[in-house]
């Protein structure tokens, strides 16, 4: 089981503005959502976890080992980060080649890389597009290609940055399924989200970032029941929770199904 730990993590781009203000977190086990308003430090935090940014103070430990001596490329076999904008990575003119790039980089043979890439594309329902040019596909499909290109590398930790943006219901369902499957295979899943409904639906643990600090951290239901603290970080509760409150129901409802079941009683 993969484990990431941060101790006293500080980071700033410029001397005046601190982006991360001493983050102490142990990340292991359940799929974890990271939420917070824009500029709260979420993306910076995951970039530090991935070694793309080096902390100004404090350390990151992967399975107990400080990551500071490893290059990003070396870390990539253990920690996979899926970026928000797929256009920042796509450079091949065939979907399959694009997805094979990652596994080839970390030492897979050509045949293995192709098998892993095809398997990843199948899981995302893109096997028929393997020979297509990525730029002929829609943005949401390209986002899924970016997901496939990391899945094909089979890292121990999967970090998603805003995967649901621009995805329709079907796309979100697919992501949910991928996250559950990868968790079942013992992977650590972290996910930056603005979509509270998706966070409530899929993740067991939720961390709220606010101005470079961890404001709340705990089981998703507990976190989302704290309306006042969430509002102080300019966040809303998930819609089922809000609807239940307006209807005068007690308790915190995270999904449509829970709310409907409660209403039927």
């Amino acid at each position: 089981m993969a484990k990431l730990e941060t101790r006293g993590l500080h980071f700033s781009y410029t001397a005046e503005k601190k982006v991360l203000n001493g983050i102490d977190l142990i990340l292991e086990g359940p799929p974890t959502a990271i939420v917070g308003q824009n500029g709260a430090g979420k993306t910076t935090f995951v970039k530090v976890l991935k070694g793309l940014l080096r902390p100004s103070k404090g350390s990151v430990y992967f399975n107990g080992e400080d990551i500071k001596d490893q290059t990003v490329a070396q870390l990539s076999r253990h920690i996979g980060l899926i970026f928000q904008n797929p256009n920042d990575q796509i450079f091949k003119n065939r979907v399959l080649d694009e997805v094979m790039f990652g596994p080839s980089n970390i030492g897979a043979s050509r045949d293995d890389a192709r098998d892993q890439a095809m398997a990843a594309l199948e899981r995302l329902g893109l096997e028929d597009e393997a020979d297509a040019n990525p730029y002929d596909l829609s943005l949401s499909e390209r986002k899924l290609i970016a997901v496939a290109s990391i899945l094909a590398m089979d890292p121990d930790v999967l970090i998603f940055d805003e995967p649901t943006m621009g995805q329709d219901f079907e796309g979100k369902d697919l992501l949910k399924q991928i996250i559950r499957e990868e968790h079942a295979r013992g992977k650590l899943i972290l996910c930056i989200l603005h979509d509270m409904d998706f966070a409530a639906d899929v993740f067991d643990r939720t961390i709220v970032f606010n101005q470079g600090n961890v404001l709340l951290d705990g089981p998703t239901r507990e976190v989302f029941s704290q309306k006042d603290i969430l509002e102080s970080a300019f966040l809303e509760q998930p819609s089922p929770t809000q609807i239940a409150r307006v209807l005068g129901l007690d308790g915190c409802y995270l999904t449509d199904a829970e709310l409907i079941a409660a209403l039927k009683n």
Partner: protein, 255 residues
Amino acid sequence: MGAMTLYVKQRSPVHSMDPLTKILYVIVSIAVTYILRELWAIAAMTAVTFLLLVIGKVFRKIIPVLGLSLLLIVSIIVVQGFFNPENETVLFELGFLTFYEEGMRAAALFTLRILNMIGSFGVLILTTKPDDLVESLIKRGFSPRFGYILLSVLQLIPQMSATMGKITDAQRSRGMETDGNLWVRTKAFFPLIVPVVLNSLNETRERAIALEVRGFSSKGKRTFLNVTEDYPYRHVIRGVLLAVLIGAIVWRVWT
């Protein structure tokens, strides 16, 4: 995440100068260094330019650019110092290398001209918000298309380097090494350059559409978002600049 410009936000007398006056300064100071051949005059002009950079609190930003031009300057000194056809007087000898006075004089001339040119463009670009610059040009009757081209050129470099940073991150995250020997770097070239080019083509198209839906090529009379600021002493400064230019021409013709 900084704004996508080379402009350095500061409060200084140079910042509050009229953009058109600064453009005039660029033209005059470069012209003067080419019209005159006296080393002391060119040195004085260059000194003024660098004084303006210091007053504008942007001197540190120009240093990397000067560093880049160092190679050019060194090669000028070497070529002129050794091979200038007028070389006669030996200035000094360094081991088996002989430097001649005439060549060194020519080299100093060229070097100062280059430094002044870089410096004066620095005064303009580092202390003027691109929007203000372009708006004041359009107000003076330049075509908005010209303004747009100027603005995109000013934004190109910072924008490219920002995109490049993001793309490098994305490819390193997929296990691509970007640091190392020549072969490693050559291999890394395509995965980096293809998205940069595709993204910039895409962005250009998107931006063209965005401009068009906001009436960029409409024919009517335009109004401006910002009120024209009243710049103190701008006529005096412009007068002085023009006087310097005319003085330099007169000096060159008469002596």
